[in-house]
Amino acid sequence: MRYFGQFGGQFIPETLVYAVNELEREFNVAWKDKKFRKHLDYYLRQYAGRPTPLYYAENLSKYLNISKIYLKREDLAHTGSHKINNTIGQLLLAKRLNKKRVIAETGAGQHGVATATAAALFGLKCDVYMGAVDVERQQQNVSRMELLGARVIPVKSGSQTLKDAINEALRDWVTNVHDTYYVLGSVVGPHPYPTMVRNFQSVIGLETKRQILKLENCLPDYLIACVGGGSNSIGLFHPFYNNRTVKFIGVEAGGLGLASGKHSASLAEGTVGILHGTKSYVLQNKDGQICETHSVAPGLDYPGVGPEHSFYKDSGRAEYVAVTDREAIGAFHMLSESEGILPALESAHAIAYLKKIAHKLKKPDIIVVCLSGRGDKDLEIVRKFR
C-alpha cells in the first residue's frame, strides 16, 4: 500500500526511484513466496529465538492494582530488541537483490546492532550511521556493532541524533545505490518501507494473539507500546486492526514535558509534513523547518513518525499519549525492582503509561505491553539521570 489515507507516499530524489521500485517488486514477490517465508521463519525461530514469551507480570499488576498486565518479551529476542525481526527480513531481501553492502541508521544503536548482526550472519559488508550525540550516550552498542564487523560512522550535522543519521544514510544510498541496500529500521521513509517493515514486525502481534488466546481465551482490552518511528507498536497493533474491541495506545517521548518544546512527540504535537520521503505528522516550526527533538530514550528521539500511525491517529483507531523522561526513568526502576526486568528506556515509556491509566481501568482488564528491548544499553543514562 503506497498510502495510508493521506499519509505515506514516495517523496524522494529521482536517483532513488529505481531502487525503491526494485525493492517494492522484490518484496512483493518474496512476501508471497512460500520458500522465502519459510526461510524467514527458520531464522526467526532458530537464530533469533522466536516466539518470544508473553509473560504475565503478576508483581507489577499487583503493584499497580491492574487486573492483568502481560509483557510481550521482545527484550528476549536475539540482540536484545524487536529490531532483529526486521533486519533478518531485509537482509534476506538484500541477498535476493544481490547487494554486496548494507547501510543503516541507528538512534539507540539497537537497529544498528541488529543490522550488523544480520549482516555478519549473511556475509554482507555493513556501515551504520549514528548521530555523534548517540555515539556518545550509547557506547556499549557502538562496541557491539564494531565487534560484529560493522563500521560505525558518527554523524556531526544538525542535532547529531537519529534524524541526521537518516539524512546521512539517504545521502550514502543516493551515491552508492547500485550495490548498496538501505536497511531502514522503522516504519518510516518512502514506500515500500512503512509497509515492509510493518509486515516484518507483525510477527510480534501475531504471536501475541495466539498466546493470549491460549492463556486467557479472549483478546486483550488494551495494547500499549512506545512510538518513536513506530515499528514495535505497529508490529503489535496491526494484526489486531480488525478486532475493534482491542484498544491501541501509543506512547511517545514527552521529554522535559510537552510545554517545554523539548520532546519527540510527533503525533501529539506535530503537524502534517514531509520528512525522509514520507508524508506524516512531523515536528516542525512555523516556517516548515524540522525541529530538533529531545528524549532520554535515544530510540524515540525523532521528529517524524510512521505514516500508518498518522492514519491511526486521524481515524481514531489508536490513541497517542506522551510520558516525560522522568516518568520513563521511574518506570525503568519500577519494572526492574518489581519483576527483575531492566527495560530499554524506549520501552520504559510504555510501562510508564500503565501508572497513568491504572485508575481508569475496569478490574478485569487485560493489558499487553510491548517490552520492545532490554535496558542494559541504558545503565549509564539511568545512573546519571537526576
Binding site: 514516495q10 517523496f11 529521482e14 529505481y18 539524512n167 543516493v174 545505490v177 516548515g288
Partner: protein, 250 residues
C-alpha cells in the same frame, strides 16, 4: 545559444547579499538564476549546500523572505529565476498560497528535488495555472520507461543529474556520461540542462554538444563562502567568464 545557469542558496550569507550576487551574475552573463530555498534536512545535497542552507536558516531564509527577494530583483531585472527547494517548507507554506505569491513575485520556474512526477498531481496543476515551469530531475539511474514520464511532465527544461550522488563540486564527471547524454538527446527535444558536480569548464568540453545548458552550484557557493565585498564581485566574474567562453558566449 547554450544557457549558463547558476545556483545559489538564498539568504547565504544574507538576503541583501543574495540580491547583490544575482545582479553580479546577471552582469557576468549568466542566463538563469536558481535560488535555493534552504531546508533543515537537505538529503540530496553535499556538505557545501548543507552549510549554506544552515547558515541561511540561522538568519531566517523563510519562503516569505525568498519571495520578497525575488520581488526586489524583479524591480531591476528580467532574468529568469527558478526556485529550488525541498517540498516540506513549500507544503507548510500552503501550496496554493505559494504558487499565487510566486507568480505575483515573478518566479519563472520551480525545482523540488524530492518530488517525482508520480507524486505531484496537485503541484503540477497549480504550476500550470500559475504559468510557472515545473522542472523535474532525471538521473543516471532513471529507467527508460520513467524517462518518458519525465520528458512529458517537465516544463522549461529537463534537469539532467550528471552523477549518481548528491550535489557538490567534483574534479571529474563520470566516464559514461557522454553515452548517457547522447541517449537522452535522442529521446527528447526538451532542453537539457546538466547539473551536479560541475566545477570547471573543461569538464563539459566533450559533452556540451548533447546539452542546452549547464548548472553550477557548489563551486560558486564555495566562492561566496570565501570572499566578501568588492573581492567577491571580482572573484565571481573571474569564475564565470571561462564557463561563458566554453559555451561559446564570448
Amino acid at each position: 545559444m547554450k544557457k549558463l545557469i547558476c545556483f545559489i542558496t538564498c539568504g547565504f550569507p544574507d538576503l541583501r547579499t543574495t540580491e547583490k550576487i544575482v545582479s553580479v551574475l546577471e552582469d557576468a552573463g549568466v542566463d538563469i538564476i536558481e535560488l535555493g530555498m534552504p531546508f533543515s534536512d537537505p538529503i540530496a545535497d553535499g556538505p557545501v549546500v548543507q552549510y549554506a542552507s544552515q547558515k541561511a536558516l540561522e538568519k531566517k531564509g523563510t519562503v516569505k523572505d525568498i519571495l520578497s527577494v525575488v520581488r526586489h530583483i524583479r524591480k531591476k531585472s528580467n532574468i529568469p529565476i527558478v526556485l529550488m527547494g525541498y517540498l516540506n517548507p513549500v507544503y507548510h507554506y500552503g501550496l496554493k498560497k505559494f504558487f499565487n505569491e510566486a507568480k505575483e513575485s515573478g518566479v519563472s520556474g520551480l525545482i523540488i528535488p524530492d518530488i517525482i512526477p508520480e507524486e505531484s498531481k496537485l503541484i503540477k496543476s497549480l504550476a500550470k495555472r500559475a504559468g510557472i515551469d515545473l522542472i523535474y530531475l532525471l538521473a543516471p539511474t532513471t529507467e527508460p520507461k520513467r524517462r518518458k514520464i519525465i520528458y512529458n511532465s517537465t516544463t522549461g527544461f529537463v534537469y539532467v543529474v550528471s552523477v549518481t550522488g548528491i550535489t557538490g563540486a567534483r574534479k571529474e564527471l563520470p566516464s559514461g556520461l557522454a553515452g548517457f547524454l547522447k541517449q537522452i538527446r535522442r529521446e527528447t527535444k526538451k532542453p537539457l540542462a546538466l547539473g551536479f558536480g560541475i566545477s570547471q569548464p573543461k569538464q563539459v568540453t566533450k559533452i556540451k554538444k548533447y546539452i542546452d545548458g549547464i548548472i553550477i552550484g557548489s563551486a560558486l557557493i564555495k566562492i561566496i563562502m570565501r570572499y566578501r565585498g568588492a573581492r567577491l564581485v571580482s572573484e565571481i566574474r573571474k569564475f564565470i567568464l571561462p564557463f561563458r567562453k566554453e559555451l561559446g558566449k564570448v
